[in-house]
């Protein structure tokens, strides 16, 4: 009880102290602004120094450093102005000067800097479904009327990666994706019309290394983006479940009247966890396209992403297609030659690694033109 009281008291004191310090620094900043407006520039750095050292409120620091930058500009101290503006960007990496709101010399100064993040990391999670693209249809039996079809099933993927931002619009990404992909292959009319049914469920575990080029909107709370890329895929594990429904026509009972329609007896057997890793080409690759929507949350983003991957290589290992001695095979199933596409939906999080810095090549031409235009007008 005493301990809980002590913790509560300490918390109260700390919060109260921080609020008081904040209020105090607000007053200091207000005073510094009045000094600035009054033209008393030389005392402003010293006035703000103590609060800058102790106040970590980003918004306050942005305003304080902006005032300092303007002060140093007027004091014709370019080094101080640049350092102050750099600190503005550290306080708020997304701060942008406004020609209508801010003095033109501050705007000019701002064009020498950027805080655009060079790198960002991202992580995602979501469902996917795999679409088999048959190159050659291969059947377990010799009958032409045997039918085969693929069914969609849901897998999932999770991963992360690193983005390199070329500029506000263009970026490149590399990542690692752990993916569980699955599909169902149905064989019907095997060993006779309306006879055996074989359901084959393939469960593949992939590690993918995607490389992509991204194009994104640079402004707004919601930002659309699109990308294109190539992925190196490695099959880590492939296990299959097979269910065989061995349907035979039920012979009529001599003691009973003949049935009006054919009746079947079914001898069913599931076979689980067949290891098919050797029956697959374990190195594969994919070309992918994607679109998404980023939602800006503070300095980071949440995003929703839809990616379609076009599998490029045949998954069936033609050397091992008819190998039947592994893991309890054979069952009446044989791999087609097929590629596998994948549609993945993900939700993710992007954390840009902001780095305020001075540009090697300042983007000041437009500001200069405006200054010259204003001078001519005056």
């Amino acid at each position: 009880m005493i301990r809980r009281f002590t913790i509560s008291l300490l918390s109260f004191l700390l919060i109260t102290g921080a609020v008081l310090a904040q209020d105090e620094c607000e007053l200091t900043l207000l005073q510094a602004t009045e000094e600035f407006n009054a033209g008393h520039l030389y005392g402003i750095p010293a006035l703000l120094k103590e609060c800058i050292e102790k106040n970590n409120n980003r918004e306050w620091r942005q305003r304080a450093y902006l005032l300092l930058a303007e002060t140093y500009l007027l004091l014709e101290d370019p080094i101080g102005a640049e350092q102050s503006y750099l600190n503005v960007l550290w306080a708020n990496p997304e701060f942008v000067t406004d020609e209508k709101r801010d003095p033109i010399d501050l705007v000019y100064l701002s064009r020498k800097f950027t805080a655009t993040p060079i790198f960002a990391w991202h992580a995602f999670l979501g469902p996917n479904t795999s679409i088999a693209r048959v190159i050659h249809d291969v059947r377990p039996g010799g009958e032409l009327y045997t039918k085969e079809r693929y069914r969609l099933r849901m897998g999932w993927q999770a991963g992360g990666g690193l983005d390199y931002n070329y500029n506000d619009y263009l970026s490149a990404s590399i990542g690692a994706t752990f993916q569980q992909a699955t599909y169902k292959h149905e064989t019907t009319d095997l060993f006779g019309v309306n006879r055996d049914i074989v359901d084959f469920i393939d469960k593949q575990t992939w590690l993918a290394v995607p490389l992509s080029f991204n194009l994104s909107e640079a402004k707004g709370k919601l930002r659309k983006y699109t990308y294109v890329g190539y992925s190196f895929n490695f099959l880590l594990l492939d296990r299959a479940d097979v269910e065989i429904r061995n349907r035979d026509l039920q012979l009529p009972d001599d003691d009973q009247p003949p049935p009006t329609e054919e009746q079947f007896s079914s001898f069913d057997k599931p076979v689980s966890n067949i290891n098919l890793s050797n029956n697959r080409n374990q190195k594969n690759s994919a070309f992918f396209l994607g679109v998404g929507l980023k939602y800006k949350y503070k300095l980071d983003y949440f995003y929703f992403d839809a990616r379609y991957s076009f599998g490029l290589k045949n998954l069936a290992n033609v050397n091992q297609r008819f190998t039947t001695r592994e893991d309890g095979l054979p069952v009446p199933y044989v791999d087609d030659d097929f590629r596998m596409d994948n549609l993945a939906l993900s939700v993710g999080y992007i954390h840009p690694l902001y780095k305020p810095r001075k540009l090697k090549k300042a983007r000041t031409k437009s500001v200069l033109r405006k200054i010259e235009k204003d001078d001519r007008a005056n």
Partner: protein, 417 residues
């Protein structure tokens, strides 16, 4: 900038297009080399396979319902990619085929047994239509093994080999009728099937034995036949009735004369199949079966030169596998290589299908196994197609049912070009 992006996009598209696996760059090797299963309701058991000159194949086996254990003959014709051209049951209840051949009219000839009562010879067209049939009956019990078409100066006919049950022939040889178990028979069948079958040979003298196949000598001179098989004839074994590969020469009236034995006198050799094949470019034969019994059973092969005055044994390789094995079928390929198909017993007492290759000098050329670890899979026939692919025909256990399996592999034992 736009032009550069377009160029890069075009390059990427071209690279991806050519790196993508499609019908253009993935050869359909599965059409040439494959394993396919054949059957209908119930279980089907492979028996024999014949290959047409155009590469189409006719497979025969028995079919058994899951609920009714009655056997029917089941016949399937497939093209050289394994696609069914037609398939159907044939014959009557309890009919079990043992041999399939093509005659000189290119009709399909099937030899089948009705339990132990009769042998039926059925002629079927290549389109699957029944043409006619004839029945060989014997109240003492009779089993057919193979059929051979003969067309020589003495006429055009079929020779059906087989054996009778105990007591048919008691010809005064050392075995009493009471100890007699099997006696060898040859029937002559008129190709029209209109005349009654004629018993040409009934040879006793041994407790057990059978004729695997009859051939006519391919060497110029007086007509002579060879009956290939095995027998425990005690002629050269001091009164011990121990089965040995034997070839007996018959004259044009089917009177036996010279006996050529192959095998070891301290082991039992049992024959399964014999075929004619060239040896060093000259006529010859090869017979496959097993030597030894139980856990020491191994595959036994004997090659024979078709020479005058006598047929001679050339090579007698014994194929030792890690587990007991029994040769079932034999075929020859390019450069007189030999493919031997066998049943190999597994630790769980089930069988796998085993294929071995031998070069013309008897050197071991490789081996393959087919079947599942858990299943009981049995060999039936190995044949070499005109394009030199090797066809392996057998029965495979597919978890819930047994089906006929046809595997086509390259002469090197791969599923690749």
């Amino acid at each position: 900038m736009t032009a550069r992006i377009s160029l890069i996009a075009t390059l990427i598209t071209v690279v991806l297009f050519f790196s993508c696996d499609t019908e253009r760059n993935i050869a359909p090797v599965f059409k040439t080399y494959f394993t396919k299963y054949y059957g209908e309701d119930g279980n089907q058991f492979a028996v024999d396979l014949a290959v047409n000159p155009d590469g189409t194949m006719v497979m025969v086996g028995t079919s058994q319902s899951q609920t009714d254990q009655t056997n029917y003959a089941f016949i399937v014709k497939v093209d050289n990619e394994g696609t069914v051209l037609w398939q159907r049951k044939m014959g009557d209840r309890d009919e079990e085929p043992v041999d399939i051949e093509f005659d000189s009219r290119n009709d399909i000839i099937v030899v089948s047994n009705f339990e132990s009562r009769a042998i039926r010879i059925t002629r079927i067209s290549q389109s699957g239509a029944s043409i006619d049939s004839t029945l060989i009956e014997n109240p003492a019990g009779i089993f057919g093994t193979a059929i051979t078409e003969i067309n020589n100066a003495t006429g055009h006919f079929f020779l059906v080999s087989g054996y009778a049950g105990p007591g048919l022939v008691g010809d005064g040889d050392p075995v009493t009728v009471a100890n007699d178990e099997q006696d060898l028979l040859i029937y002559k069948i008129d190709p029209s099937f209109d005349l009654p079958p004629k018993l040409e040979l009934e040879q006793g003298g041994e407790k057990v034995g059978k004729i695997a196949k009859i051939f006519q000598s391919q060497i110029n001179g007086p007509i002579r036949y060879y009956r290939f098989g095995d027998s425990d004839r005690p002629l050269s074994q001091g009164g011990n009735f121990r089965q040995t590969f034997e070839v007996v020469r018959l004259n044009e009236f089917f009177v036996p004369s010279t006996l050529v034995q192959a095998g070891s006198t301290d082991e039992v050799q049992i024959s399964s199949e014999a075929i004619a094949m060239p040896i060093a470019g000259q006529p010859g034969f090869v017979m496959v079966g097993s030597t030894g019994q139980g856990a020491s059973k191994r595959i036994f092969v004997a090659q024979y030169n078709d020479l005058r005055p006598e047929l001679t044994v050339r090579l007698k390789p014994i194929i030792s596998t890690p587990r007991p094995a029994e040769g079932v079928s034999v075929a020859y390929g390019e450069q007189e290589s030999i493919f031997v198909l066998a049943d190999e017993q597994q630790d769980n007492n089930n069988y796998d299908i085993y294929l071995a290759k031998f070069e013309s000098d008897g050197a071991f050329g490789g081996e393959m196994r087919f079947g599942s670890i858990e299943g009981n899979d049995r060999a039936a026939a190995v044949r070499v197609l005109p394009d030199q692919r090797v066809a392996v025909f057998g029965t495979i256990e597919l978890e819930t049912q047994k089906k006929m399996m046809l595997t086509l592999i390259s002469p090197q034992g791969t599923f690749l070009e």
